[in-house]
């Protein structure tokens, strides 16, 4: 007598789980150009590494003799796996079962996934499709009561969604229509990716159209809306590309805040000096230039991984490597408002600096900032408050910091380039210029009486400008040690690599006092 009958029943139940919502629903998923949750897990995890938890949880029906007839699995599939050799938690919504809605979720499943990531210190990748929240309004009938969100003892998932941001790398993948709690779980991540066919919103078109003008799914929550608004970090064509993004992001990260990110062998010469950097910045100060090629030329070849490209675009943010060490890199993009920080830019900086602080990544900032954005729209979006918030994030950060002043550093935002209370490294390029105010407009304000008294006001203005321009050469600033080093731009990579090595003893696997927010 063995336990063979029970083993057979276990296998039957597991087989039901593998069928997900049934053939028709799986076909519908494929016809819409989307993978099923099990295919997604398989493509994301290293081959054969997925160890599922709770596969056979679901709703079963039995015949009169109490024998199992059918089992509809819960629409949450989760377990642990390795991704590029590193142990992670994978948790995914099964859209083929009740459209991924919480009607068919067993609340404790996604909760345990979050707990495992937290308590066993493993990154978590959330594969999100559907609403996954309080369920559709149908649940009023099935439970016989309305759902007070969170209710009594129902806040566990929200608790871990917050806790994990300060504990382990959290990646959100939006693959399909994502709404409600699903949208919250996607947005509450360190890095989120959606496919261009997907949409994310608080509530979808049926709800929104009831309140006013009808909108399409794409207008409301498509990738252009969400990536420009900063709701989602990145959009890709295919689900496979989304999985690649998740892998790549994790490659720069430690497994948790109790660890530091791995140093990999560097095949690019740390002493490499790129001749092109000598003419990267135009001498004509009104002309802009491309910052991304400068980034590519100073970091380890091919190592720059941009995040949040379409949001707060005057600041480029991403992960990169210097002599094999992962760093958080920020750089201005003069093509957007000359590199001025808008309210969005400031919010982007806060989140990015907090990410660096949380995961002990040294920060490199290639700066060209003529100031905070000015004008009515800038005031209406509280640029200065978001600006000082970004400064506060810099000042509260404890990770090693290095700034290269590529061109402009003006105004209060000009000061926002290094942590205020501790020593960081700073180098100014030959093209660097700074001031409290840009001369243009600033002269009229400061020399009003002198200009008004002149017969030829324009000539007077030009004369004063010429006078001041001679004095504001960065060499005069260096003469008085108001800036510590002016460098040949070609020396940037060797100096940044040296900074990354200098940062080694400062990168400690000790959780930051900072508690990160989404």
């Amino acid at each position: 007598m063995t336990w063979q009958p029970e083993l057979e029943e276990l296998r039957i139940r597991e087989e039901f789980a593998r069928r997900m919502g049934g053939e028709d629903k799986v076909k519908r998923q494929h016809d819409a150009g989307r993978l099923t949750v099990r295919e997604r897990v398989e493509k994301l995890a290293d081959p054969g590494s997925f160890h599922e938890v709770g596969a056979i949880a679901g709703k079963a029906s039995y015949d009169a003799q109490g024998r199992l007839v059918e089992l509809t699995p819960s629409n949450c599939v989760w377990g642990r796996a390795t991704v590029d050799g590193r142990r992670v938690v994978l948790v995914g919504d099964d859209f083929t079962v009740r459209g991924g809605s919480a009607d068919a979720t067993i609340r404790e499943k996604p909760l345990m996934a979050e707990r495992m990531a937290n308590e066993f210190r493993m990154p978590i990748i959330r594969i999100i499709e559907g609403s996954g929240g309080g369920g559709s309004v149908k649940t009023i009938e099935t439970t016989g009561r309305a759902n007070l969100p969170g209710g009594v003892g129902g806040t566990g998932l929200f608790n871990y969604t917050t806790l994990n941001l300060s504990a382990v790398p959290v990646v959100g993948l939006g693959l399909g229509s994502v709404a409600g709690l699903g949208a919250a779980r996607l947005a509450a991540s360190h890095y989120s990716v959606m496919t261009k066919k997907s949409a994310m919103f608080v509530a979808g078109p049926p709800v929104v159209s009831r309140l006013g003008a009808p909108v399409t799914k794409e207008e409301l929550g498509g990738w252009e809306t969400q990536c420009k608004a900063g709701g989602v970090d990145h959009a890709v064509e295919t689900e496979e590309e989304a999985f690649d993004c998740a892998r790549r992001f994790l490659s720069y990260m430690p497994s948790s805040v109790h660890d530091v990110s791995p140093v990999i062998p560097c095949e690019d010469d740390p002493e490499r000096r790129d001749e092109k950097l000598m003419n990267a910045v135009p001498r004509d100060r009104r002309r802009v230039y491309q910052m991304r090629p400068i980034i590519e030329s100073v970091v380890d070849r091919g190592s720059f991984f941009e995040m949040g490209k379409l949001f707060g675009r005057s600041l480029i943010t991403g992960l990169a490597r210097l002599d094999g060490r992962a760093v958080a890199l920020m750089a201005s993009d003069p093509f957007f408002y000359g590199g001025s920080w808008t309210s969005d830019t400031c919010q982007k900086a806060v989140r990015f600096i907090d990410l660096a602080e949380t995961f002990h990544l040294p920060v490199v900032y290639l700066m060209d900032c003529p100031g905070f954005m000015v004008g009515l729209e800038a005031e209406r979006s509280a640029t200065i408050r978001h600006g000082v918030r970004a400064m506060a994030a810099m000042n509260q950060a404890t990770v090693p910091w290095c700034t290269i002043i590529v061109r402009n550093a003006f105004g209060v935002a000009g000061a926002a380039h290094q942590p205020a209370g501790r020593l960081s490294l700073r180098y100014a390029w030959l093209s660097a210029r700074w001031g409290s105010l840009p001369l243009e407009g600033g002269i009229e304000a400061a020399y009003r009486a002198e200009i008004d008294a002149a017969e030829d006001k324009a000539a007077k203005l030009a004369e004063i400008e010429e006078r001041l321009n001679q004095l504001r050469s960065p060499f005069r600033t260096a003469e008085t040690f108001w800036v510590e080093e002016i460098i040949d731009p070609r020396a940037t990579r060797p100096l940044l690599c040296d900074f990354a090595r200098m940062a080694d003893p400062l990168r400690q696997p000790v959780p930051s006092r900072l508690q990160m927010r989404p």
Partner: protein
């Protein structure tokens, strides 16, 4: 032959029109120069083609996302 609408990626003033309708342009050529924060910011052709229409005038204040020109590529 596809018609491409080129949009401004930022709110700015139109400073100079660089390519009149009928001009042949290569990808990356400047169509219009905007001015923002005292900087000249080019709006570039996203592909090789011919300028069909310029939809803004020098001195115009334009919004992010506004169409600046159309090309046939």
């Amino acid at each position: 032959m596809a018609e491409i609408t080129v949009v401004a990626e930022l709110t700015a003033a139109v400073w100079k029109i660089e390519a009149a309708p009928g001009t042949r342009v290569a990808e990356g050529d400047t169509l219009v120069i905007l001015e923002s924060m005292k900087m000249e910011i080019p709006v570039m052709a996203p592909a090789d083609g011919m300028v069909l229409a310029v939809l803004v005038a020098e001195g115009d204040q334009i919004e992010e996302g506004q169409a600046v020109a159309t090309l046939v590529a």
